[in-house]
């Protein structure tokens, strides 16, 4: 019933509202548009940055996985002393293969670092054991269980180490 006949009171409203809001609406739209534009631009930049990061992480992650077999090979080649000359000759060859692997790593900027004797740094080392001792300064790495590797700006794999801590007694005095 009422739907059939257009309500006359609507007319002025229809006219006045657009007049009142047209500018505002434009401004709102403009603002929204600009914000959207900026957001998409920012998202694009972030994505670009993230893609770079991801590529880097991806390379590092793959390399980190190759480190395990390299460790095994290294471990294996440490048992050659008691071998016959013939075996040692073989081992020599495998040592060269190990060298090739390491070359691939260093080509990608990944190099091992030496931990024993240096001070513990959680950015580089992962402590899996401690030993109470006064022979070396606190925080000195006494033993390296697993070699650490790093690339230019990141620790690819922390070294797993044993760290010197002061004996309980002395610590209480501190």
């Amino acid at each position: 019933m009422t739907e059939n006949a257009p309500d006359p009171t609507i007319l002025p409203t229809e006219e006045s509202i657009p007049q009142m809001t047209l500018e505002e609406k434009l401004q709102e739209c403009q603002e929204k548009y600009l914000r959207l534009l900026a957001e998409s631009d920012n998202a694009r930049k972030r994505m670009q940055k993230e893609r770079q990061e991801m590529t880097r992480f991806a390379v590092d992650n793959v390399i980190a996985e190759i480190l395990d077999p390299i460790d095994s090979l290294e471990g294996a080649l440490q048992c050659t002393q008691s071998m016959s000359n013939e075996m040692r000759n073989w081992a020599q060859g495998f040592l060269m293969i190990l060298g090739q692997f390491k070359e691939v790593l260093s080509n990608h900027g990944v190099t091992p670092f030496h931990s024993e004797g240096s001070l513990f740094d959680p950015q580089l080392h992962y402590a899996i054991e401690k030993e109470e001792t006064t022979e070396v300064p606190e925080g000195t790495i006494i033993k390296e269980y697993l070699k650490g590797y790093r690339s230019k700006e990141r620790t690819v794999r922390p070294a797993k180490v044993k760290v010197a801590v002061p004996p309980e007694q002395t610590k209480l005095d501190v």
Partner: protein, 647 residues
């Protein structure tokens, strides 16, 4: 414009017992942010040493050397009285004491550190992670807490946020966040079970959703059950196996133990996707007889028998939670999995058995809570409702090209409004007109798709095949109305039509077309390849004929005859329409073409392009007789694609 308030993002943080995770809403989609070390989750661990504070992975790495000053699981103490946490104290190596009002606090180097301050350190790390990603300051956050947290625990979590420089806009229960991540808030009157088996704790929550508001009906769980228990079960099995075989106890060997611990976790993760996994640890140790290797196979069935008791421990709490919610399992409408351990098929099976329902999957269970918090943050910013509801086109739009192929212009799922342009050319010499047939659908061949419009662009000035540049533009406005125009770039002549969205397809039809496309994928591909071969052969014959005519005088007669015969063979094969024959003739001609090149080079002249360049399609009939110089990269169509990148 100047009063434009800078709307900064509200981040969502899952402040977990073992790990924390941060997410934001970006361009309408939730996104988990990786920390500086590349991790998508950060250990909730803080190490203190002198004035130095370490948070996350660095704190974890030094924990062994610094157990009294490395606070993990601080969430177990936040907002609680010293008297309440006696059993927890026994499980941690650091000192827990009480402050003046009886709250549980930590004592580190003789100083009192509150659980709020520890949590704040983790929150700062998450905040910095988000800031590094966004490149702007973050000041507001939504933080999740377990559903069973009381007012005091929630208030303390809020305080931790304040200490971290974050205004906590809302504290929401973890199961609610998980439900948000699955978009379950859009439903009505649902009972939802959230099964959360993480690194160190197990929580089961029963939620009721009414009118977009979640109410926690019941919670239960086991505060000391998680992934580490599963790893240990595998580790002990490996130690036993090795002892049985070699008589050596590796549990005393730190180095071996470390390797086995890593191997155990790896095997566990692998067995979520495969039935068996090899565990190989060469040179794990050595005795007088030489090196010893650990080499064994772990099957999924074996793993499941090893951890059976652990999984069994989740049943009781679930039953109790249902009971205290006053529900039976058939009253549960939705089941959600949270926490990395729920990836294990045996765990999932157990959940299915308990609730008699297939659980929701798809969102990373390690991140689902943080994602839900991020979504809540976006809702609070107004981002979610403020975002224009941008539509996408349901089916690919394109035109018909040489050989009756659909060349897509706007791919399905493209967000509109959008505009795309592509340049095509003619398929015959002096072709005066092209017909633009606008198609909608996912099939490769034009005839299998729906024609939604058609028009001719006429009066193209006479030109050799492939020369005219006809720019076809598809412009779809926000209402889904498609404007297609075709313009001859040289003459500037343009023709366009407007196609109403309504002339497209209904939702049912869209679904049907997608289904069809999937079903016919293989055969369509084959058909398209055939046509491509055809077009390629046609174009090659055309080029060969042209070269032949052009360099007639400079080529040895026998070569001319040879090439001509090969060209004729191609034409005959095309006539015959036998794909294999066409391919063979094409290859033969292609070889001859190289000879032309060689002969020309010998002649010091330069006949270019011996390479066949694929075709485009002509809506009409391909003219194989036509001749003209063919630029590489040109696809002859009805219409021919010159430059895909032009938009």
């Amino acid at each position: 414009m100047t009063q434009q308030k800078k709307k900064s993002k509200i981040i969502g943080i899952d402040l977990g017992t073992t790990n924390s995770c941060v997410s934001i809403m970006e361009a309408g989609a939730p996104k988990v942010i990786a920390n500086a070390e590349g991790g998508r989750t950060t250990p909730s661990i803080v190490g203190y040493k002198g004035g130095e504070r370490l948070v996350g992975i660095a704190a974890k790495r030094q924990a062994v050397t610094n157990p009294e000053r490395t606070i993990f699981s601080s969430k177990r103490f936040i907002g609680r009285k010293f008297a309440e946490v006696q059993s927890e104290i026994k499980t941690v190596p650091y000192k827990v004491t009480k402050n003046n009002n009886g709250d549980a606090v930590f004592e580190i180097e003789g100083k009192i550190v509150t659980p709020e301050e520890v949590a704040a350190q983790v929150l700062i790390k998450m905040k910095e992670t988000a800031e590094a990603y966004l490149g702007e300051a973050v000041t507001e956050a939504v933080i999740t807490v377990p559903a069973y947290f009381n007012d005091s625990q929630r208030q303390s979590t809020k305080d931790a946020g304040r200490i971290a420089g974050l205004e906590v806009k809302r504290i929401i229960p973890e199961p609610t966040a998980a439900a948000l991540a699955y978009g379950l808030d859009k439903q009505h009157d649902k009972k939802i079970a959230v099964f959360d088996l993480g690194g160190g704790t197990f929580d089961i929550s029963i939620l009721e959703l009414g009118d977009g508001v979640f109410e926690v009906l019941a919670t239960n769980g086991d505060t000391h059950l998680g992934g580490d228990d599963f790893d240990n079960a595998i580790l002990h099995w490996m130690l036993d196996e090795f002892k049985k075989e070699h008589g050596i106890d590796l549990s005393k060997d730190k180095m071996a133990l470390q390797r086995l611990r890593d191997a155990a976790e790896k095997a566990k993760i692998e067995l979520s996707g495969t039935q068996t996994t090899e565990i190989n640890q060469p040179f794990i140790t050595m005795d007088a007889t030489g090196p010893k290797h650990l080499s064994t196979t772990l099957t999924r069935a074996k793993l499941e028998s090893l951890v059976h008791d652990l999984i069994e421990r989740t049943v009781g709490p679930c039953v109790n939670a249902l009971k205290s919610a006053g529900l039976t399992k058939d009253k549960i409408d939705e089941v959600i999995l949270v926490g990395g351990m729920t990836r294990m098929p045996a765990v999932e099976r157990q959940v299915k058995e308990i609730f008699g329902k297939e659980p929701h999957k798809g969102v990373n269970p390690d991140e689902v809570v943080a994602i839900g918090a991020g979504i809540q943050g976006a809702v609070l910013t107004g981002d979610v409702k403020d975002v224009l509801l941008l539509d996408v086109i349901p089916l690919t739009l394109g035109i018909e090209t040489l050989g009756g192929v659909l060349t897509p212009i706007v791919e399905s799922n493209t967000t509109i409004p959008t505009q795309k342009k592509q340049v095509f050319s003619t398929a015959a010499d002096n072709q005066p007109a092209v017909t633009i047939v606008v198609l909608q659908g996912e099939r490769k061949m034009a005839k299998d798709n729906k024609e939604i419009g058609r028009f001719d662009l006429t009066d193209i000035p006479p030109a050799p095949r492939g020369m005219p540049q006809i720019e076809v533009a598809f412009d779809i406005d926000a209402d889904g109305i498609l404007h297609v125009s075709a313009k001859d770039k040289q003459s500037g002549k343009e023709q366009k039509i407007r196609i109403d969205a309504k002339s497209g397809l209904s939702e049912e039809e869209v679904k049907k077309m997608r289904r069809d496309a999937e079903e016919h994928l293989e055969e369509d591909k084959k058909r398209k390849e055939e046509i491509e071969t055809r077009n390629e052969a046609d174009a090659l014959a055309f080029r060969a004929q042209k070269s032949l005519n052009e360099y007639k005088d400079k080529l040895p007669k026998n070569l001319i005859e040879e090439v001509q015969s090969k060209i004729d063979a191609v034409k005959a094969a095309l006539e015959e329409n036998n794909p294999d024959r066409i391919k063979a003739a094409h290859d033969a001609l292609s070889n001859q073409m190289q000879k032309i090149g060689e002969a020309m080079q010998a002649h010091a002249g330069s006949a270019q392009e011996a390479q066949p360049q694929p075709p485009g399609g002509s809506a009409g009939n391909p003219s194989s007789q036509a001749k003209k110089a063919n630029k590489p990269d040109i696809e002859e169509a009805d219409v021919e694609i010159l430059d895909d990148t032009q938009k």
